[in-house]
Symmetry: C2
Subunit: 334 residues, 2 copies
């Protein structure tokens, strides 16, 4: 039967009071006789009234909603980040609207602007590598935007990052301390900020130890089984074979494990970003606290919503190395 939803006006008529009195009861405002309140409550119950929050929010100008744009909600990394954001939002009484950009700048743009059109209170974005100038009008109009995991392109804005270069440097230095001199690096596409940063960390640790890096030791690009296999074969044979590898993200670590298993090869290894079962497999990793990344981004957003006008922040979340064996293998005697 699907009657249209009753409004406060309907309730007011049923309870024979004014609309405003209904509003008072619904919102728990003072100044209503217990008797009238009773009548109103009954009318609410019999009609099945539920306040229309979107009308309320239009009037108050508050959406009580934050928007989140990320690459793919199906990816554990982003879902952990999302969880961090959600926890903070919930604590502040806000809902979360999220959308996946599929790493496409066009989709990201549409999504972000759609969320702004819905008048979310603020936006958290895991940006693609592209120009984010289209957000300037929104930001000027008072919509705070916080970038998470990667900085925005072309503009300066609040950003929360993991210590990508520091973590990669620590992992590489750990391998060096273990006696390795030839260390390969397999990373994601250079278009991606985190990939560049981690590579930078690797290079800095190598040069800090005065170790040269052969061209064949570095592979960066969208990781596939084939590319990782090719990279590993290049690194492990040839005239300057490596004795250890650093994997730039957990997808690469997993692929490398597969390939190494297929090749029946063992090599020292440290991976950036932890993953499930890495402990069981004995993989040493540089863990980043993804949920914390989301939490801090959300906290910063609410700080802005609270009126903080200070210059853009750049928060860096430390990483943590977890030794599990693969990073502690010594170079094989040759």
């Amino acid at each position: 039967m699907e009657r249209a939803r009753p409004t406060m006006k309907d309730v007011a008529i049923a309870a024979d009071v004014s609309l405003k009195t209904v509003s008072r009861v619904v919102n728990g405002e003072p100044g209503v006789t217990p008797d009238t309140e009773q009548r109103v409550r009954e009318a609410i119950k019999t009609l099945g009234f539920r306040r229309n929050d979107s009308a309320r929010l239009l009037r108050t100008g508050q959406a009580a909603t934050v928007g989140l744009v990320l690459e793919d909600i199906g990816d554990p990394f982003y879902s952990a980040l999302s969880r961090g954001v959600e926890g903070v939002a919930r604590a502040r009484g806000s809902l979360l609207i999220s959308g996946s950009s599929d790493a496409d700048p066009g989709t990201e743009r549409v999504l972000a602007l759609t969320l702004c059109a819905r008048r979310v209170d603020g936006l958290i974005i895991v940006p693609t590598d592209s120009d984010h100038g289209f957000l300037v009008p929104e930001m000027t109009a008072g919509v705070p935007v916080v970038f998470a995991d990667r900085p925005p392109g072309e503009i300066v804005a609040d950003t929360v990052l993991s210590d990508n270069s520091g973590g990669a440097a620590e992992g590489t230095a750990h391998l060096i301390a273990g006696g390795h001199r030839g260390i390969g690096y397999i990373g994601a596409n250079r278009d991606i900020f985190t990939a560049r940063e981690r590579y930078r960390g690797y290079r800095s640790a190598m040069s800090a130890a005065d170790l040269p890096v052969a061209a064949s030791w570095v592979t960066m690009g969208t990781p596939t089984t084939a590319s990782v296999q090719g990279a590993l074969e290049r690194m492990l044979v040839g005239q300057e074979p490596v004795t250890a590898i650093f994997c730039g993200n957990n997808r690469i670590s997993v692929l490398a494990l597969h390939v190494l298993a297929a090749l029946r090869q063992t090599v020292a290894m440290v991976g950036f970003d932890d993953f499930e079962l890495a402990d069981l497999l004995g993989v040493t990793v540089i863990a980043q606290d993804t949920e914390e990344l989301g939490r801090q981004a959300a906290e910063l957003l609410f700080q802005r919503l609270g009126g903080d006008k200070s210059p853009p922040h750049r928060i860096v979340i430390p990483t943590r190395m977890i030794g599990r064996g693969s990073g502690e293998l010594r170079p094989a005697a040759r």
Copy 2:
């Protein structure tokens, strides 16, 4: 400098036309001279106008938004489901608002009602084990609700499920076919629908093969390392030791792998639900298509939004066994 956002009225004044003309231009409605349109577009650009969709949606009564309530967006299972829902919603031009219930019926209730108060067009819920009668008024008022992964309590409504019992039966039968006669079952809490169903599948496969099930072979409850370890010790020693185990979900499979590794034990094993690296670890699983679960739930929701008034559906998504070795181990000769 945070000017308030300009409205259509502001644009109308700036372009020296009526508000309605602005609306026509913004919405691409016909009946505007190219010349006027030009003036309006300029005003829009200089003022930085963006239509307020929430006001628009209040007027049109359409939210172009679907709500999703699940247990924990940080869990890969739910994020895959979420991805399925999001894909369909996006294709239909809708946004997705989601919230995590943390498996708490109270939170679930608040979240679902909050989303309804926002007047989402429809709701997809991964329900906790509780009474969902509180949703009847909403459903009567015309908000379609689809339950995913588990059926609702106390009410009959559209539901999309995996074939839990069928999958568990298939996995168990596979072990039986491999020569096992003593097969243990470690499952989640009986409060959870999927846990009950999978256990039912296990039992039915055992009795179909005329195999008795010793009391010590079955453990059901919230899985922890300790509980899984206790369960395995009980099953593997004693007078009626098992030669194989069936794990009721992927969390349990992973815990079992850890415990077995610590005990230096090998035992045949099939797990319900696939997980990353299960291939590398050679774990045979009953895979469910979680993303498809979300997709189908969303498709059903949009079907209802399209006006379908047929009786509640119950869609069951088949599972698929993936043999990787652990389920193909033969019972050790004793």
